[in-house]
């Protein structure tokens, strides 16, 4: 645990994060999130965060060392897509019993690793620590080391038990595990000046495949994606990329920064959500590659592609302008998405009546002000009751949020669209933004709304 504490403290000191560097030493030690309120908290734990970050690696076995809750209650519940192996969707857990809690679970873990390797022969096994096994002192690093030597395969300890913090911390601890045990352990067959990493993209609903064709058209190769649709060896050779694009705000900033420190791979932070953001991401990727030695003509080709794609996207959005003009949107999401979709929605004439900034950084908030004006309606911590009231009073026509709050909208008989990780539609890139607007249109103009809002006629007759 001492090792884990040191690691957590190291994560809390993030030179790559301006907000973090702006803090005093003492503030920094407390970490990035507010202390949780018992009885008024929501959200996943550090184990959840680590699993989210690594599970999209498709060909490895993800083995959870803990009681049944951690895997049994949660497995196969995310939409990260795979182009080949299905092993990442198999639930492996040591399912520790009362006796294991008393006598220690290390032997069961070791045997479990053996069983998984014998039966499924994955290129690597990721072993996740959980609260109970951390509390009783199971040394998963030692077990993984022994198993790795015995079975001649990488067995990676992911030391991120739930009670050390929230999901975001878990994302970063997962990153630490990759840095310590995986990255730099394999070499690609060949490298090109056009090799990039995409870090923090999980290929939910296949979104990586929505943007990959754009990179393909430019001749840019995604050497590794961490971790959407990734294979183990691809992650292991990510140190050979020429540039890194960091997606999804700060979730995996530690990997990105250390790839730069250790291997001199420059990075930028970008987003695939929104038309101009997608273009910026392509532009910055090209620029970093050219800085690192790629032919400068890449810049021109990139601009040509952007002009072409943007024109096509705006043309595709044109028919929606008349239908969506003046539609009031309540946007409840976190971080990057709080501003990255705003511009596209505004472009088709929609009005953002509020956006949540609970998980947003200072820069995120600045971007929102740029887009929505100084009096932008930024909601810090909106209660479900307040969301319900806004919708019920028709202060908003549609809510875009994560699955957790969907029933707040639906029970208020208002349209709702899922824009978080459980969603079924892909919204990345130019096509994705058109798809998002199309989905909003579909939700708003569904004929059910008039019907469900009308009281039963016989009810009035008896009043």
């Amino acid at each position: 645990m001492a090792g884990l504490n040191a690691k957590v403290q190291e994560i809390f000191n993030e030179p790559g994060c301006e907000k973090n560097q702006g803090k005093s030493e003492k503030e920094r030690k407390k970490g990035c999130t507010k202390q949780l309120q018992p009885g008024a908290a929501a959200g996943g734990c550090a184990f959840d965060g680590a699993k989210i970050a690594l599970q999209p690696i498709t060909d490895v076995a993800h083995l959870v060392h803990g009681p049944i809750a951690c895997e049994g209650n949660s497995w196969d519940n995310r939409g990260a897509k795979s182009s080949s192996s299905r092993l990442y969707r198999t639930g492996f857990t040591t399912d520790v019993s009362e006796l294991d809690v008393v006598y220690g679970g290390e032997k069961r873990l070791y045997k479990s690793i053996r069983e998984v390797i014998e039966k499924y022969d994955p290129p690597a096994v990721f072993v996740y620590q959980t609260c109970v096994t951390a509390l009783i002192g199971d040394d998963i690093e030692a077990v993984c080391k022994a198993a790795s030597q015995k079975f001649g395969k990488p067995v990676i300890p992911v030391d991120s038990p739930g009670f050390v913090g929230n999901k975001n911390l878990g994302n970063k601890l997962a990153g630490e595990a990759l840095l310590e045990y995986v990255i730099g352990t394999e070499e690609p067959e060949e490298t090109t000046p056009y090799d990039i990493n995409i870090i923090g993209e999980y290929n939910l609903s296949g979104e990586l495949w929505q943007v990959k064709p754009l990179f393909d058209k430019l001749g840019i190769r995604i050497l590794s994606c961490i971790s959407g649709d990734a294979k183990y060896k691809e992650v292991a050779w990510s140190h050979r990329a020429k540039a890194t694009m960091m997606v999804c705000s700060k979730a995996m900033i530690n990997i990105t920064r250390k790839l730069e420190e250790r291997y001199g791979i420059p990075y930028f932070e970008g987003s695939f959500y929104g038309i101009s953001d997608m273009s910026d991401s392509l532009r910055q990727t090209a620029k970093l590659l050219v800085d690192k030695g790629a032919d400068a003509e890449l810049l021109d080709r990139t601009e040509a592609l952007i002009a072409d794609e943007e024109a096509k996207a705006w043309e595709a959005l044109e028919p929606y302008k008349a239908r969506l003009k003046g539609v009031k949107v309540l946007l409840i999401t976190g971080g990057v998405k709080s501003w990255s979709v705003v511009s596209a929605l505004q472009e088709v004439g929609m009005e953002i009546v509020g956006t949540s900034v609970k998980k947003s950084t200072v820069e995120d908030k600045e971007r929102i002000k740029e887009l929505m004006g100084q009096d932008a309606h930024m909601l810090d911590d909106m209660t479900p009751r307040e969301m319900y009231r806004m919708l019920k009073d028709a202060e908003a026509d549609i809510m875009l949020s994560g699955g957790r709050s969907q029933f707040v909208a639906l029970k208020a008989k208002m349209p709702w669209l899922d824009i978080n990780q459980e969603r079924h539609h892909a919204y990345a890139g130019y096509d994705g933004m058109v798809a998002l607007v199309k989905e909003i249109d579909k939700a708003l103009y569904n004929p059910i709304w008039k019907q469900v809002r009308r009281p039963a006629p016989w009810e009035e007759a008896w009043l």
Partner: protein
């Protein structure tokens, strides 16, 4: 009849089992104006909540004491106190239901003791009912958590009655019943002129209704007053063997006799239930049920062609496994594979040669040549690999609509279930061809009856 054994693997693969605390949480969700809370790290609650949201497609009130490393070591009394106060101040529930987790049980928090101290310190909470149940994640399964929570609800809240209410009956509903099942049972019991108090009552809270206002707590279910008055009932009807301890508890508190119905699926099984209602009410069986029974008989007659000799693999919690496999067996099927989550006296009575306490990997190995797979939605990958028809039963069912309203109790429920399963057999019957009888092997002749 069945040999009950434990899987000897070190590693569970594709879990069938879910943990006790969320079983307890779901039982609490069947109480009205209730806020359940898990005493553990925030993830314990988040996973349970996501699971229930996906199954019920409803808002799920579920809180956490938000334990971290330090508070775990130091003990969680402050967290429980703060959680209760925060929930009370923000949501004003009538009942808070707390369940422990693996984390706080490993530490050994004495929550019963904490609650006594908190009660003493906060007299302003006197009107709030607080129920606590110990549910370590590393022991038992979902069904046990549900059963244990109901025992504690009854122990804390049922009062010894001033006088009996003759037409009032208790129904202790097992975790294998859907909100739809509970609605069906209520209607049947009321048709005998009896007034049922159903505990827990998911049909009030998780039946997918649209309320006219927003509440952070459960919006329906067994009310506190109803639970208090359960001691005045004339009899307790126990639905599912795992609800027996709660019935015994009521019996000890208020001398209410009980009748155990280990299942309500199956003609004879439901006949017994209807007989008991008739005796308890002193009324003849209403014509409606004579008609429904007769329709069920017809469904059995029409359906048995398709069920006879079919091999079925079932993965479910003990009482659901018992109910479903008994019914299928009584329709002529063979239960070729049976896997469950936790021990139960019902397991050895399951009509199969073996019942394994194991996981879906075990079930997959045993289900290879089966005609039908029955388990919760996590069977979807297996069904695809094995390429056999798949009926989703149990919890979670996250890839189908309406799981809250599926009915598998009563004459009518069984009739519809026979149609549903029979149709799957019919649809997947093997077509005969010129070579069918040319090969010496196979039972194509029997299958030919199913065209």
């Amino acid at each position: 009849m069945a040999l009950v054994s434990n899987s000897h693997k070190a590693c569970a693969v594709n879990p069938l089992k879910m943990s006790q605390p969320i079983g307890a949480a779901l039982a609490y969700l069947g109480l009205d104006a209730c806020m359940p809370a898990l005493h553990g790290s925030q993830g314990c609650t988040a996973f349970g909540m996501v699971l229930f949201v996906r199954h019920f497609r409803e808002n799920i009130p579920l809180q956490t004491t938000a334990m971290n490393e330090a508070t775990t070591i130091l003990g969680g009394m402050d967290n429980i106190e703060q959680a209760i106060l925060n929930i009370w101040n923000r949501a004003k529930p009538k009942i808070i239901g707390i369940a422990s987790t693996g984390l706080t049980e490993t530490k050994g928090d004495d929550v019963d003791g904490y609650l006594k101290l908190i009660r003493k310190k906060h007299p302003e909470l006197d009107e709030l009912a607080v129920v606590y149940v110990s549910t370590p994640d590393y022991k038992g399964a979902f069904q046990d958590g549900w059963a244990n929570a109901v025992v504690r609800i009854v122990r804390e809240l049922v009062e010894a009655p001033a006088k009996k209410i003759p037409d009032q009956v208790n129904v202790l509903a097992g975790s294998h019943l859907s909100p739809g099942d509970i609605d069906e049972l209520r209607e049947i019991i009321q048709d005998f002129g009896l007034n049922p108090i159903i505990l827990p009552d998911l049909s009030g809270s998780l039946d997918g209704h649209v309320s006219s206002d927003f509440s952070p707590n459960t919006t329906g279910g067994t009310t506190l007053e109803e639970i208090k008055s359960m001691g005045a009932s004339s009899v307790t009807l126990v639905i599912g063997e795992h609800m027996l301890p709660a019935a015994v508890e009521i019996g000890m508190k208020a001398e209410v006799p009980y009748i155990v119905f280990d299942r309500l699926l199956g003609l004879e099984a439901f006949d017994q239930f209807v007989t008991a209602l008739s005796e308890a009410s002193g009324k003849p069986v209403p014509g409606k049920y004579r008609r429904q029974r007769s329709q069920l008989l017809d469904a059995m007659l029409d359906g048995h062609f398709f069920f006879g000799g079919k091999r079925v693999a079932v993965g479910a919690e003990p009482d659901l496994l018992w109910a479903v496999s008994s019914m299928l067996s009584e329709m002529g099927c063979e239960i070729a594979a049976a896997v469950t989550t936790t021990s139960s006296p019902m397991l050895e009575r399951v009509p199969a040669s073996e019942v394994l306490i194991g996981d879906l990997e075990d079930l997959e190995e045993r289900a290879k040549d089966c005609d039908l797979l029955i388990t919760h939605s996590h069977g979807r990958q297996m069904a695809e690999r094995l390429n056999i028809p798949f009926l989703r039963m149990g919890l979670p069912i996250f890839d189908r609509l309406g799981s809250a309203h599926r009915i598998s109790v009563g004459y009518r429920g069984m009739r519809d279930l026979i149609f549903e399963i029979g149709n799957m057999f019919m649809e997947n019957a093997h077509e005969v061809g010129p070579d069918t009888w040319a090969k010496s092997k196979g039972s194509a002749g029997a299958q030919a009856a199913a065209h």
